[in-house]
Symmetry: C2
């Protein structure tokens, strides 16, 4: 198979600070100290209100046998974006990982520090990437994420995850997950839903944490993928420095169709980069009753506050009647204690 693939600029934005947002406020975490309810409430970290009620009503009606709204188990597909939907995205963990890889690679081969794009990362030279644009960024992704076997890549991600602390908060990465979403994933699974992550991040990085962080097995992660090549002589797969699928925006329905093969009836994304709108729209086209949600990052005290300049995601949510999660108002507790 011969493919000529031009790598897209969108993915590369992962490696620079978010340009499409404003009003970014970073604060230290102030997790709620309220006691988690031990009652039968399946979503104790969600404040009581119209959204929580809507979620529970939806799940109840589509799982009730004999109901006109009943969805057979095999079609109870729930998809969640990751960055900004299941965990924080200020900055992207993918970006931290790329910088970690640069550090490790320069340690192993100090001469790299004099070579671009490593030099720019080592010297924190943002202008290099601003001036070099896509070309410079793809060099960085290619140099840090590809050219190794899958086994080597997995070992590298495990090391990174064991060491990494989230900037500004100084907590392990597990503590930037959103507690209400962890409860929602469990609640959906308890009701026969199969939960998937559909992320703009690279598929292997998210697979490295999906089971431990979210209870989602590797094969239920859909993500941005590089082109693979199997080498019989070494019996291994290598990734080549060319994108196969950019699983963002219009790429998300494509990734869903390829990996899952049917429309999700439940889908959740976030505003911030307008990356999830196509997924929510695709979900709404299901022949079954469906439910779409969008996280609105409006909590500068407990999480972050950032909005798209054109408010595209929130405007689209209003247009198509997607549910909007107000982090400030709908979440009693944002982050888990550990």
């Amino acid at each position: 198979m011969y493919k000529k693939i031009y790598v897209l600029p969108l993915f590369l934005l992962l490696l620079v600070s978010c340009k499409k947002t404003d009003n970014v406020t970073t604060t230290n975490p102030k997790d709620s100290t309220e006691t988690v309810a031990t009652s039968s409430d399946p979503l104790p970290s969600w404040n009581d209100g119209t959204l929580k009620t809507a979620i529970i009503d939806y799940v109840s009606k589509v799982t009730k046998e004999g109901s006109a709204d009943f969805i057979p188990v095999e079609s109870r597909i729930a998809t969640f974006d990751n960055d900004g939907t299941l965990w924080a995205e200020k900055p992207y963990v993918q970006e931290l990982f790329a910088f970690y890889r640069v550090k490790k690679m320069v340690e192993a081969n100090p001469a790299l520090a004099q070579k671009q794009p490593f030099k720019a990362v080592v010297e924190k030279d943002k202008t290099f990437f601003e001036k070099g644009g896509d070309k410079a960024l793809i060099e960085l992704v290619a140099a840090t994420h590809t050219g190794m076997t899958e086994d080597e890549f997995e070992a590298s991600t495990k090391e990174f995850l064991a060491e990494a602390k989230y900037p500004g908060k100084n907590v392990p990465l597990k503590q930037i997950r959103y507690q209400p979403q962890l409860e929602l994933l469990n609640y959906l699974r308890a009701n026969g839903f199969k939960t998937f992550i559909v992320t703009g991040g690279t598929i292997e990085l998210v697979r490295a944490i999906s089971a431990d962080f979210y209870g989602i097995p590797k094969e239920q992660v859909v993500g941005t993928s590089f082109k693979y090549k199997f080498d019989d002589a070494t019996n291994s797969i290598k990734r080549e420095p060319a994108l196969d699928l950019l699983d963002d925006k219009e790429g998300k329905p494509v990734g869903i169709q390829l990996h899952i093969g049917q429309r999700p009836v439940f889908a959740c994304g976030n505003e911030g980069g307008a990356g999830d709108l196509a997924m929510l729209r695709y979900s709404q086209g299901s022949k079954y009753p469906s439910f779409q949600m969008l996280v609105n990052h409006n909590d500068s005290i407990r999480e972050y506050s950032y909005q798209e300049k054109d408010n595209l995601s929130l405007n689209t949510a209003a247009k198509y009647k997607y549910h909007v999660i107000s982090v400030k108002d709908d979440w009693k507790k944002v982050f888990p204690d550990k």
Copy 2:
């Protein structure tokens, strides 16, 4: 994302008669009339012998907690080829489907019968495809398998499956499944394995039958895929007449890595077109104890007898010590009664 994809000749061979085999003998089905054991034997349609014992020994040892051979549930990944491994491949069902599509399309638009490649199919003109080579074949695939939404394609496959009878045997397609393999799939699942189909056939066609025929959900089918495009205006996905992944030979480990994200510990393919060797090799590279099997189609009485001219699959099985299923000797019963 811009991809320039040249469609491969290999996939297109699906649409012509198998060129790599000889000694093809087709017979009417003569299913065993032996009563299926109601004992605790998990594989009643397998004859007792070294292979059946090896399967049961393997599953027992890797599922025994505390054993050095123990495999955690999340890594109990089993992959099966479809054509010639889970059901018969003389001819490919994919080929029947392409011809069915031509028939339907010509009924809807009779003028097509005068237009190639439809004309060649209607007139059973094999020389057209022999002379036209890849170009003629891709025209046929493009005309019959793409250019419609996923929902339209699924409706078409359902119609086809409801009507189709298998040539030479005159039975519904369900009756060309291999009974011993159905038992093996169940046995593996009962022991915590997640079962996947990894097929050279097109992913949607196999997904249309995977749950009903094999108890395997859509999202656990890896197959040959066309390039998708999401259209926001119609909220639908269309397939374009360009291959995305040819899930055959070296494409199988690639499809496995992309869709599953780890090596299968149990893999089963068949000789006939040497399409499964890379998958078996990839499986054998697992860090866990692994098990590879290859179906040898040597039963001209109950199924078919066909071998590769160069015996590549059987030679490779001998080299790497893959288990070989002799249809003639290892299977007590080949096809299910219904």
